[in-house]
Symmetry: C2
Subunit: 229 residues, 2 copies
């Protein structure tokens, strides 16, 4: 894994895109980044869009189109400098610098997320966890303190986190969301299986494995129907 | 939470859709189902598409279009019978009956998933977990045994699972995937941050919180750029 600190040195300033960038493009950028980090770590210096296609399964034309939202990349006949491309994509996504994150819900899932190594590798640092359960408050998990949820507003004035991970039960998710927004949170990664209602200046992404499993369940049956024909 | 056993009694056979159903439609079906279950549990008998829009944020025309892939639903002027719609959507997604699932990777994330209450509520039962770490093999977590990964093929001849949850580190994910496919798995929910290579008869859905966080990180900055203007 390349030290992402190198992003800073190599990253150029990328101008703001002129149009709204589609979310699937942003998702694919993270996939490219993943491969570029690994390639950089193995000492590969340049890469072609054809090789990106071979490695990621995303076709070369799509790759070039995705990058075109953010300016000029690569050199004809030479390809893309791995370190430079890695740095620019990290900067586009604003994951070239450390971002403080707070987590609400120090249950099984929350604890697993606190210990997830990929977060730090991508410069997401969970700085504090919050819970309302007296049995969890005061615990120290993976070097992270679990604080009383009632202290969220006060503590985030100091922490200054704008991103939160929400790992609370569905019936608590909306009320905690309102507390998060009041405390200055502007982006929420929601693991609770409900749709959160938020004002327009707050962004939410949902991680729902139940939804994913239900889609798989459907696709599995669809595949079998085809085989039977 | 309504007992999903009631699905069986109420569900009608839904004919196979004539065309390939878009994945976003399937994802929205799981959202509708979520609300229908809660509504049914609170004793609500019928619902209009306008109310679905109010509750889920998905517009009424989209809701009707999503259902139209699967036949006729609801009665003009009356709306939709909650229990019936719930049963039919569950049957469409094939989550009206218990499905055995195996989990590979009994680390922090895997253990949290084993204890996740939403799985059983949606009739997904993790029947066995597998790991290759001798310190984890033989453990009994959330009433689930952790077995030696080398026994995957043998044990799945008995278990008959076709869906697997993959919660192993990125560097092990592809080789474990190949073992899963060999053992009869046809659908994989992948938590490892890599794209798995699978033959065409196997379906994969990826859960990547790093990807989701990176998209949030981008959207957060985009929002601030707009505010500054």
């Amino acid at each position: 894994m390349a030290n992402l600190e190198t992003y800073r040195a190599d990253a150029r300033n990328v101008p703001a895109p002129s149009n709204k960038v589609p979310i699937p493009t942003l998702e694919r950028l993270t996939t490219y980044l993943r491969y570029l980090i690994d390639l950089g770590a193995s000492g590969v210096e340049t890469i072609s869009s054809a090789e990106i296609e071979r490695q990621t399964g995303i076709n070369a034309a799509q790759f070039r189109k995705d990058l075109s939202h953010f300016g000029e990349f690569g050199k004809p006949g030479v390809g893309y400098n791995v370190t430079e491309l890695e740095g620019r994509i990290a900067r586009i996504l604003q994951i070239h610098k450390v971002q403080p994150i707070i987590l609400v819900g120090a249950g099984n899932l929350g604890s697993a997320l606190m210990g997830y190594p990929g977060l730090k590798e991508h410069k997401f640092h969970i700085v504090t966890a919050f819970d309302s359960d007296p049995n969890k408050i005061g615990k120290h998990l993976w070097n992270i303190d679990v604080q009383d949820l009632r202290r969220l507003g006060d503590l985030n004035q100091v922490l200054g986190a704008r991103i939160a991970i929400l790992a609370v039960p569905a019936n608590a998710a909306q009320s905690v969301t309102e507390k998060l927004i009041e405390a200055g949170i502007r982006a929420i990664l929601n693991f609770a299986p409900i749709l959160l209602r938020v004002p327009p200046h707050v962004v939410v992404r949902n991680v729902s494995f139940l939804q994913e499993l239900a889609v798989l369940s459907y696709q599995l049956t669809e595949g079998e129907r085809k085989t039977e024909k």
